[in-house]
């Protein structure tokens, strides 16, 4: 029976939703004022939110959900009984443009199951991107998932049209990958990432003659790790992130709490990890990217290598390193202010700018919408000293959420 376009859209977006990445930023600014076509890119806009709390920024679909790989965590693995479907490249192009014109989306995030061979799949995806750019003068965002083992020539062409390329490492450890995705190899994935990094770096350089190098994925590359499907601890996950950020200059590492899928493989755990765990990993990731923390500091506090689920990682770190506090609100260096629980990047910038002109008191922070309750054990200033508060044995008790009685029925 022939499936309608709507049926296939339902199947192929359902199959793509387990990839958490949806960002449409980081590719600089451009628009269609000069090209008279369609589309622009700036900071990334989320056009809708679904009740799972995730945003819809890009049309996230698969070209096909047929796949010759058999990765245990994946809904599209070859041993799964989900219904299969495929789009033609023209259908994907049409959907992207029509959705874009109605301002539903920022662009396209195209991925695919692997059919026939890696190169065959990759070349179809590249064709979609090429025609969008060249035939339709589309200047919106394009994110392509690269297929492991695709040829370097295809990868290079993909970079010409795409804003971001990504390849998923899937499992935090090589052991996990070998167990769950027997056809994927950590070495090949890393190799592919390394190759992309070389391309991206080269595109930022000028050529010998001083001209600009051809564009290559200006939005950089990202990846995703599945959390909670195997035994990896948060420390394993974050140390893996650390090497990805520093070794391959990734823009983003996404953490996707393993989520139950229809027709799941028998080797997967039945119970998903708490969503809070994923949230804590993202908080840790933010501390690394914007707050000057090292991942090793964040995970040093607990011997089991897991992040504290009750407290956010910054607060947990501050409680474990109380000797460094309290600090002087008016004199402490910016790097230390960033480490105070309750102060975000914006409020720290505002504090640093304002204290050049005035002495700040604790009440002033309330005007910056900072939680006084949270920051006051860690700061001192004119009119406030935490005194005994900072030395209390049970400081932690002030912050952990109050216990709640379980529902009786």
């Amino acid at each position: 029976m022939k499936q309608s376009l709507s049926d296939r859209l339902a199947l192929l977006s359902d199959a793509a939703k387990y990839d958490a990445s949806c960002s449409s930023s980081g590719a600089g600014k451009r628009d269609s004022a000069a090209t008279k076509g369609l589309g622009s890119v700036s900071n990334g806009i989320c056009h809708a939110f679904t009740p799972d709390g995730r945003c819809i920024s890009l049309l996230k679909i698969l070209l096909t959900n047929f796949c010759i790989y058999d990765c245990a965590y994946c809904i599209n693995r070859s041993s799964s009984n989900v219904p299969r479907a495929r789009f033609t490249p023209d259908e994907v192009i049409w959907l992207t443009l029509e959705f874009y014109r109605r301002n539903y989306i920022e662009g396209l995030f195209l991925s695919s199951g692997i059919i026939r061979s890696s190169d065959d799949t990759m070349s179809q995806m590249v064709r979609v991107a090429r025609e969008l750019r060249q035939t339709h003068k589309f200047r919106g965002y394009i994110h392509l998932k690269t297929i492991p083992n695709a040829s370097p020539a295809l990868l290079a062409e993909a970079g010409l049209y795409a804003d971001r390329l990504s390849i998923n490492v899937e499992m935090p450890t090589e052991r996990g990958l070998a167990d769950y995705a027997p056809q994927k190899h950590a070495g090949e994935i890393r190799h592919s990432m390394g190759e992309m990094r070389t391309h991206i770096d080269a595109a930022k350089d000028r050529t010998l003659t001083g001209r600009k190098a051809p564009r290559f994925a200006p939005g950089g590359q990202s990846t995703q790790m599945i959390v909670g499907a195997d035994q990896a601890t948060d420390r394993d996950i974050l140390s893996s992130s650390s090497s990805l950020y520093t070794g391959y200059k990734l823009r983003r590492v996404y953490y996707s709490a393993f989520s139950p899928i229809p027709d799941a493989s028998a080797i997967l755990p039945i119970k998903p990890p708490p969503l809070l765990r994923e949230h804590r990993l993202y908080q840790a990731d933010w501390l690394f990217r914007f707050y000057g923390f090292q991942f090793s500091e964040i995970t040093a506090g607990r011997p089991d290598g897991m992040l504290d689920l009750e407290l956010d990682p910054k607060l947990a770190w501050a409680l474990a390193n109380r000797a460094m506090f309290p600090i002087d609100l008016n004199r402490a260096p910016k790097e230390m202010l960033l480490r105070v629980p309750g102060l975000g990047v914006r409020s720290v910038q505002a504090i640093v700018a304002a204290r050049r002109h005035r002495q700040l008191r604790l009440e002033d922070l309330a005007r910056l919408k900072v939680s006084i309750r949270k920051v006051k054990p860690f700061l001192y200033t004119t009119g406030w000293s935490p005194g005994r508060l900072a030395e209390r044995q049970n400081l932690r008790q002030l912050f952990v959420p109050q216990p709640q009685q379980l529902a009786l029925f």
Partner: protein, 298 residues
């Protein structure tokens, strides 16, 4: 009799600026000037307002660019007290030039809060406007209409975004605070309030299909959704009417996934495995043969 002006609700920075300058050149302190909105309720104690006369030889006000940008932004806000706040900041900034950098100052804190709301409103407008196609394409250009209800007077500031993005189509955005129209060359802004039109588009159905399918029923985070997409936007978004049903169906879908027993793999999986095994065997045979060749004496 008091000094001041009666202003239209939508008075923008460029219209307010000469008035503020006039007050400043007349050396009138913020407390002496009343900025009254035309739509504000008249009270018994309302006095007629006269414009202050500038003094000869008075020095014009000087503002740092950061402060100017802040005033420009808060004058897009719908709060009717924005004129008085802006003038007070202008007045104070003459003796405290760095004023706009002091986020802890009560006036600046309030202005920054308003600035944040305006920025948010602008951003949400770029996100939640939904174009609906209208009629047949003419001369190769398709035409689209949209209805949106912004909280603040942000139309002129979102105009560049839309006219640089949707260049190859004609579009009109109607709002209760005016309209924007693009014809491929110019973007026309009109402050005349518009009524909500009746719009429909068949592609909405595909979009709804996508919206429902991309939702993962195993992770419900309605708080996260609502903080980014507050209910006030729901009435103009085609997809949000599906949310109650999606939430109602979610527990049953998750339970069904958990209850499902592993099923035997489809036939094509077995064929794939077979082929892979054949290839492995072939490789094994090949390498064994090579080994034999290598070891065999020439």
């Amino acid at each position: 009799m008091a000094y001041g002006f009666i202003l239209d609700d939508h008075t923008s920075f460029s219209a307010w600026r000469p008035l503020a300058r006039q007050c400043f050149l007349a050396d009138r302190a913020p407390e002496e000037i009343e900025w009254r909105c035309a739509s504000a309720e008249t009270t018994l104690f309302d006095t007629p307002l006269v414009a202050p006369t500038p003094k000869n030889g008075a020095q014009p006000p000087v503002l740092r660019s950061k402060c100017l940008a802040l005033l420009r932004s808060i004058l897009r806000h719908a709060d009717q007290t924005r004129f008085a706040l802006a003038y007070r900041i202008l007045w104070r900034a003459q003796t405290e030039p760095a004023l706009a950098s002091i986020a802890t100052d009560p006036d600046i804190a309030r202005a920054l809060h308003m600035h944040k709301q305006v920025r948010e409103d602008t951003h949400k407008m770029t996100a939640y406007v939904r174009f609906r196609e209208h009629g047949e394409a003419q001369n190769g250009r398709r035409s689209f209409y949209a209805w949106f209800e912004p909280d603040h007077y942000v139309l002129p500031s979102v105009a560049p975004f839309f006219s640089k993005r949707f260049v190859d189509m004609d579009w009109v955005i109607l709002t209760p605070k005016g309209s924007l129209a693009w014809n491929g060359e110019t973007c026309a802004f009109s402050p005349t309030p518009c009524a909500k039109p009746k719009l429909s588009d068949d592609i909405d159905q595909l979009w709804k299909t996508y919206y429902v399918s991309t939702f993962n029923p195993a992770r419900i985070k309605t708080k996260a959704m609502l903080s980014e997409m507050p209910r006030k936007y729901w009435k103009n978004l085609p997809e949000t009417q599906l949310i109650p049903q999606m939430l109602a169906d979610a527990p049953a879908r998750v339970a069904a996934m958990a209850a499902q027993q592993p099923r035997p793999a489809p036939a094509f999986h077995h064929r794939l495995q077979q082929r892979r095994a054949d290839v492995e065997n072939q490789k094994g045979t090949d390498s064994a043969l090579r080994e034999v060749h290598r070891q065999s004496p020439k």
